[in-house]
Amino acid sequence: MEYWLPVIYVAAMGLALLIYVVLDGYDLGVGMLLPFADESEKDLMIASIGPFWDANETWIVLGVGVLLIAFPAAHGVVLTALYLPVTIMLFGLILRGVAFDLRVKAGDHRRTLWNRAFFGGSLVAALAQGWMLGSYVTGLQGGTLGLLFSALIALTLPALYLLLGSSWLLMKAEGELLEKATRWARLSLLPMGLGLLLVSIATPLVSERIADKWFSLPNLFYLVPIPLVCALAFVIMAYHLARIGRLRALPWVPFAACVAICVMASLGLAYSVFPDIVIGRMTIWEASASVASLQFTLVGVVITLPLILFYTVYVYRVFHGRVTELTYH
C-alpha cells in the first residue's frame, strides 16, 4: 500500500489532466478562433461548447485536487513556484467563463466587448498553461534555457488547442462555418506539428535526467511507439484534411488523431517524470499524504470516477450531432 497508493494517485492525476487538456483544449481552441468568425457563426461556435465547458473545466480542479489530496507537500511547492502563471491563467479562465453568459445577457451594446473577453481569456489561459507545463518539465528551475523552453511550450499548447478546437468544429459545424473550420484546421496543423517536434528535441536538451531515461537501451526500444504513433496520427490528419470528401464522410478522424497525439505526449511525459512529482526534488512517495487519508479518498475515487465518466459520456451523447442555435428552456 505504501508503494502503490501514491502510484495510483499519480496515475489518476495524470488521467484527469489528460482529459482536461483534450476537453478544455477544444473549447479553449474554439474560444481562440472566435474573432475569425462572423456574428451568427460566433453564436454557433459558442453553442457547440455551451453544454460542456463547465464540466470540462472541472477536470483541472480534479487534477489540482488530486495533487492537493495525495501530494500536499508538492502542491505547495508547485503552486508557489508557479504563482504568477497560475494567477494569469485564472484571470483568463475567469474572463472567458463569465463571457459565455455575459455576451448574451449584458445587453447588445456590450456584446463585442464580451466576445473579445472570451477570445482574450481563452488565449491567455492557453498560453499560461503552456508556460506552466514548460516550467514544470524543467523542474521549476528557471534560467535562460528554462525560460526559452517554457516559452516554446507556451506557444505549442495553444497551437494544439487551436487544432483541437477546429477539429471539434469539423464534427459540430455546418455550411460556411464548416468550410472555415476546415481552413482553420489546415492552418493550425503545421505550427502544432512543428511545435511538438521542437519540444521533443528540446526536452532531453534541457533535462539531462530525461535524456538518460530515454536514450539508453533497452528503454529506447520500448519507447519508440510513442513518437511513431504521434507521427502516424499527424500523417493521417494531414492526409484526411487535404481530402474534403473523406473529411465530410468521417468528420471525427482529425479530432481522434489529435487525441491520440495528446495521449502519446502524456505517456512520454509521465515516463520522463516518474517517479518524481517535482522533477529532481521530490518523489511521489516523499510528497505523499498519509496512507489512512489516501485510503479514505480512494474509496470515493473508485466509486465516483466510473460514475463521472459514465454521465460525462451520457451528456456528450445527448448533445451528439451538428449544432443548432442555443436556447434556454
Partner: protein, 450 residues
Amino acid sequence: MDIDPVVLARIQFAANISFHILFPAISIGLAWVLLYFRWQFTRTANRDWEHAYIFWVKVFALTFAMGVVSGITMSFQFGTNWPGFMERAGNIAGPLLGYEVLTAFFLEASFLGIMLFGKDRVSNRMHLLASFLVAFGTTLSAFWILSLNSWMQTPAGYRIEDGVFMVESWWAVIFNPSFPYRLVHMLLASLLTTAFLIAGLSALRMLRGLGGPGTRKVLKTGVLLAAVVAPLQILSGDLHGLNTLAHQPAKVAAMEAIWDTEAGAPFTLVALPDEASRSNRLAVEIPYAASLILTHRVDGEVQGLNDFAGQHPPVAPVFWAFRVMLGIGMAMLVSAWWAAAVLLRRREPGRPLLRVLSLMTFSGWLAVLAGWYVTEIGRQPWIVEGLLTVQDVAADHSSATLSGTLFGYVMLYVLLLAAYIGAVRNLSSKPAESQRTIAVGELAAVAGGA
C-alpha cells in the same frame, strides 16, 4: 512596499472568498426554487410557472458560471497563498475537498448542460432529474466545504504527528462540533438570499409595469419562502451562537465586545471597541441581555477578551459585522412578514411594499458577507482554532508580487460584480414572456372581432 506579506495574502484570499460566496449563496437556494418552478409547471401545466422557470434559469446560469470561475481560483489559492496549511493539515483538508470535487462538482457541472440546453433532447422526467441533480450537487458541495471550514473552527477526530495532522476518526472530522450548526445556518442563508432576490426583482418589474401573472407568482413564492425561513434562521443563529460560546469563547467575546469576564453581562447595542484601552467608547448597553442571550440565564457568566490576551481576534470588525448581520436579519423578518400578510389576504401589494422589497433585493448578500466576516475574522489569529496560526502557514511571496496580483484581482472582481448586477437588471428590464403572449392574443382577438 513594506506591508506585511501575510496581511496581503489574507486580504487577497478574503477578497476572493468574499467574491466567490456571493454566487453559491444564490445558486444553492435558486437551484431548489427552480426545481419547484419546474415541478409546478409539470404538475399544473400553468404556463406562468414555465415563464418563471425560463427567466430565472438564465439568472441561475450566469450565477453558476460566476461561482465556478471564482471557485476554480479558490482551489488554486489554497496552494499559492497557504502552502503550509496543505503541508500540515493536508491529510484532513485534502480528502474533504476531494470528495467535494468527486461527488458534487462533476455532478452539477455535467447535468447543468442538460438542465439549461437539453429540454428538447431528453424526456420531461430526465430533465426534471437533471434539475434535481444540479440542486442536489450544489447542496452537497456546501456540505463538504462547510465541513472543512467547521473543522478549522472546531477541530476534532485528529492527532498530531511531527506537526502534521493525522486522522483518528473520519466521522468525528466530518461531523465536528460546529458543522451541523454552520451547515444549517448557511443553507438557510442561501434560501433567504434567493427568496429576497426573486421577490425583489419581481417587485422591481411590477413597479415598472413589466410584470405578468408569472411575476406575481414568483413574488409570492419569494415572500412566503422568506417569511418561513427568516424566523428559522434567527433560531439557527441563536443555536449556532451557543455552540460558538462553548467552543470558541474568544470569538463570542469579540462579537459582543466584552472585555472582562462577568456575570450578568450587558448586551452592547453600539459602541466603538478600542483595543488600546481595552474598553468600549460611547457604548449603549442593555443590562443583563448578553448573559440572557448567550447563557439563557440573567446572571450567567460570559468570558471576556482579557482572558485571551494576545490570542483573540481584532474586536471592532467582528463586533460590527455581527451587528450588520443581526440588523439585516431583523429587517428581513419584518419586511417578509409584512409582505406575506398583504399577499396572503390576496390584496394587491402597494407601491411602498414593492419599493421596500426591491430595496432588499441583494440584502442577503450583505448578511452572508457580514456573517462570514464574523466567523472567519473571529477565528483569527488561528487557521485551525487553537492549533495552527495563519502566520505559520503563509507562503513567502514578496509584498510586490502579492500587491500586484491583489490589485488585478480586485479590479477584475469589481468589473465582474458590476457586469453581473448589470446583466441581471438588463434581463429584468425586458417585458415578461407571458405579457407578450397576452398582448399577441389580444391583438388576435381584436383582429378576429373586426
